[in-house]
Subunit: 449 residues, 2 copies
Amino acid sequence: MQSFEIDKSDLQRIKTALEGDDAGLEVVLQEYHASEIAILFEKLPQEDKERIINLLPVDEASEVLSEMTEEAHPEELLLNLDPEKRSDIVEELDYDDATDILSQLEEHEQHEILQDIDQEDAHNIRALLKYDEDTAGGIMNSEIIKVNINLNKMQALDEVIRQSEEMEEFYTIYVVDDADILQGIVSIKSIIKARHDARVSDLVIRDFVYVKAELDQEDVASLISQYNLTTIPVVDDNMKLLGRVTVDDIIDVMEQESTEDILKISGVSEDEELSGNWKEAVKSRLPWLIVNLGTAFLAASVIRHFSDVEERLPVIVAYLSIIGGMGGNAATQALAVTVRRISLSDLSDRQAYTTVFKEFLVGLINGAFNGLIVLVFACLYDENPLLGVVLFLAMTGNLVVAGLTGAGIPLILKRVGIDPAVASSIIITTFTDCIGFLLPLWLASSLLL
Amino acid sequence: MQSFEIDKSDLQRIKTALEGDDAGLEVVLQEYHASEIAILFEKLPQEDKERIINLLPVDEASEVLSEMTEEAHPEELLLNLDPEKRSDIVEELDYDDATDILSQLEEHEQHEILQDIDQEDAHNIRALLKYDEDTAGGIMNSEIIKVNINLNKMQALDEVIRQSEEMEEFYTIYVVDDADILQGIVSIKSIIKARHDARVSDLVIRDFVYVKAELDQEDVASLISQYNLTTIPVVDDNMKLLGRVTVDDIIDVMEQESTEDILKISGVSEDEELSGNWKEAVKSRLPWLIVNLGTAFLAASVIRHFSDVEERLPVIVAYLSIIGGMGGNAATQALAVTVRRISLSDLSDRQAYTTVFKEFLVGLINGAFNGLIVLVFACLYDENPLLGVVLFLAMTGNLVVAGLTGAGIPLILKRVGIDPAVASSIIITTFTDCIGFLLPLWLASSLLL
C-alpha cells in the first residue's frame, strides 16, 4: 500500500455511492481505512458525513472520528448523531481521543453526551477533561497496562494478556504498588523470558523517565524525542500513575508546534486554523497589521523628518526602499534561523553571544557585498560616487542592525520568558525600516549637502 | 525524572572532572544518560569529547554517538578515535545510525572504517549507504524481528525471543516466506495468546501498510502519522523485506522538514545548519539577498518612473514605504498559512480556489481597514483628503495583491511540481513592493496632478 492521497476517482466513487442506497454505499466504504474516510470527510457535506458514520460499524465510526483533524470539527459531527449511536461511539473511543473531541464542545453539551454513556467511561473522560489540552494530562491516554509489583511471572503474564484485550498495542508495562504509586517499568519481553519463579519485583526497572500531568506538551515531546521513547508514563504529584503519552500523539503535537512557530514568526496569531474561513483569518491577522501600520508610520516619520534631503537629492528616494527592504529580508533570515534554533534546544549564554556575533558578521559581509553593488550602480547610473559611498555605508549598517536584531531580540525575549517567535518579522522589520531610512538620509545630509 | 536541561552546574561538574583523573571522570559520567552526554558534548572541545568516548563502555559510547545531532558532527569524533575502539563502536551501533554517521564521511574514510569491522556488519552498512539519506531506505533500520510463515506458535515465540536478544524494543513481527518476501505482520500479543497448535499462517495479518525503499522520507512520515503506526516495513520492488522505519526516526524527520520549511519561507537555503558558522550562513543567504536586491531595483525603478509625482507631491514619499511594507507583511501572513497548509496535506483544486478566494477577501478587508486609518491620517495631518482617498485605494489594492500572491504563488508552484516553500517572502514581497509603489504613484498622477 502506498500513501493514500485523495484523488478525484476516490471522491467520485464515494459521491456516486452516496447517490445510491445504503447497501451499495457500505460495500464501497469497506474498501477504505478509517483514516482514509477521515480524509474524504474533508470534502463531503455534513449530511453525507452523518449518513456514513451511521452506516459504519461502531468501532470503525469511532476510529474515523478520532482520525479527523481538529479543523474538520468531529465534535459537530458527533453532536448531530442519533443519541444511541453517539453513546456507542463515545464508549468505543480511547479516552484521550474522546476527551480531545469533547473538549471542543460547550459544557452543557459535554454533560448531555456523558450522562448517556457507561458511568466508568464517563468518569474517566471527565477526569481527563480537567487537564489543559496543551499539557501531558491533556494528551495522555489513561488506558494502560499495569501490574502490581508483588505478582509472580505467570500472574503478571496473565494480567498483561487480560488487560491487553482492549488495547491495540502495548509496549511497556507499568509496575505499581498497592496504592497505585508508580514503581517502575517492565517490558513484555523480560516477562516472557524470565524464569518461571521470577517475580515482578525482580524484573522491574526503577530508572525510568516520567512526567507530571501539568507538564507542557512541548516539553513532553522533547523528552520523548531526546530519550527515544515510544511511551512515557504520566503521574500526579504523589507519583500516582494517571496514564501514558504515546509517541503517535507526540507527532500531532510536533506538527502543531511547528505550525505555530511558522505562523507566529510571520505575524499570524497562533490560533488561526490553517483551513479556517476569512473571518477567522481577519481576526487573527488584522491586529498584527495594525501594529505594523503604527511602526510603519514611525519609519515614515523618519522620511518626513529629512524632507529637505529629498528635495535637494530626489534620487535618494528610490534607494530608501532598497535599503529598507534589504534590511527587512536579512532580518527575516536571521530571525528564522535563531527562532528555530531556540525552539529545538536551549542555548547557553555563551552560545547566545556566539549566535549574535555570528549574525553581526553575516550582516557585515552580506551588507558590504550588496552595498558594493549599489555603490557601483550609483556611480554608473546616477553618476554620483559620493552618493554611492553613502548608500554603501547605509546598506552595510542596516544589514548589521538586521543581524543583531534578528538574532538578539528573540534571544532576549527567551531570557525574559517571552515566546521568542513573537519577535515576528513584523516587529523586527520596524527596526530595519527605521534604520534603513535614517542611515542614508542622515549620512546624505551630513556628507553630501 | 524531568526534562534534562544543561545547566551550568552540569557543565561545570564535567569540566571539573575533566581536569582530574580518568577514575573520577568515569564516576561523574555514570550519572548521565547517553543522550545527556550527547547534549553536553555540544559545549565541549574535540579533545575532551574523545577522552570521554574512550572512557565510556562501548555500548554507552555508541549510544552517545547515535544521539549526537548531525550538526555536532559525530563522524569527525569517530574518525579521530583509536581504530580498535572505533571498530567496536561501529559494530555496536544500529545499522541505520552507523549509516547516518558514515554517510557524512568521504568514500575513502568510509572504506577505512568498514574494512576493520565484522564483515556481516560492514556488508549491511554498505547496503544501507547506497540509499539516498532522505528516503525510506536511508532512514530505515535493518535489524528487525521476522518469522517464517510456516512456523508453529512455539517455534515462532522461541524465534522472537531469540531475535529480540539484540533489540531494545519490538512492536511488530514481520512474517516472510522462504524467499524473504514480506507476507504480513503478526503481533507478539497474538502469538502469546494463540492456542498451542496455532501456526503463524493462522495469525498473520495480510492487510498492512508498507513502503518502498525509494519513497521520500516526508511521505513515510505522513503515512506513519496518518495510520498511527509505530513502525513501517520497507521492501524492495519484489516485496523482499529490507528493514523497518520506526516512529522515533520519524520525529527527527519531522523536525528537519519543519526547519526546512521555516528557513525556505524566510529566504534561507534549506541546507544552512542552524548552528553553522558565519561562512556557511553567508553562503546560504547572500544569493537570496542578491536576488532581492535585483527585485528591489525593480521596485525602485517604479519610484524613478514617477519622479515628477514626487516633485509635485513630496509628502507621498513617506506613504510609499507604509503601503509597500504593509503589503509585504500581509503577503508573508498569507504565505505562511498557505505553505504550512500545503505541507501538512494536499489540497484539491476546489480547496485551492477556496484558499485563494479566502485570501482575496482577507486582503480586501484588512486593506480597507488599514487604508481607512491612513485616509484619516492624511486628512488630519496632511490636510489632503484626495491624497487620503488615493492612499486608501492603494492600500486596499496592495493588500489584495498580497493575499492573491501569498496564497496563489505557492499553490501554483505546487501544481507544477516545485517546492511551494521556495516562494519565500523575498519573492512575494517583490510583487507587493512594486504594486505598493505603483498604485499610489499612478493613482496620484491620474487623480491629483
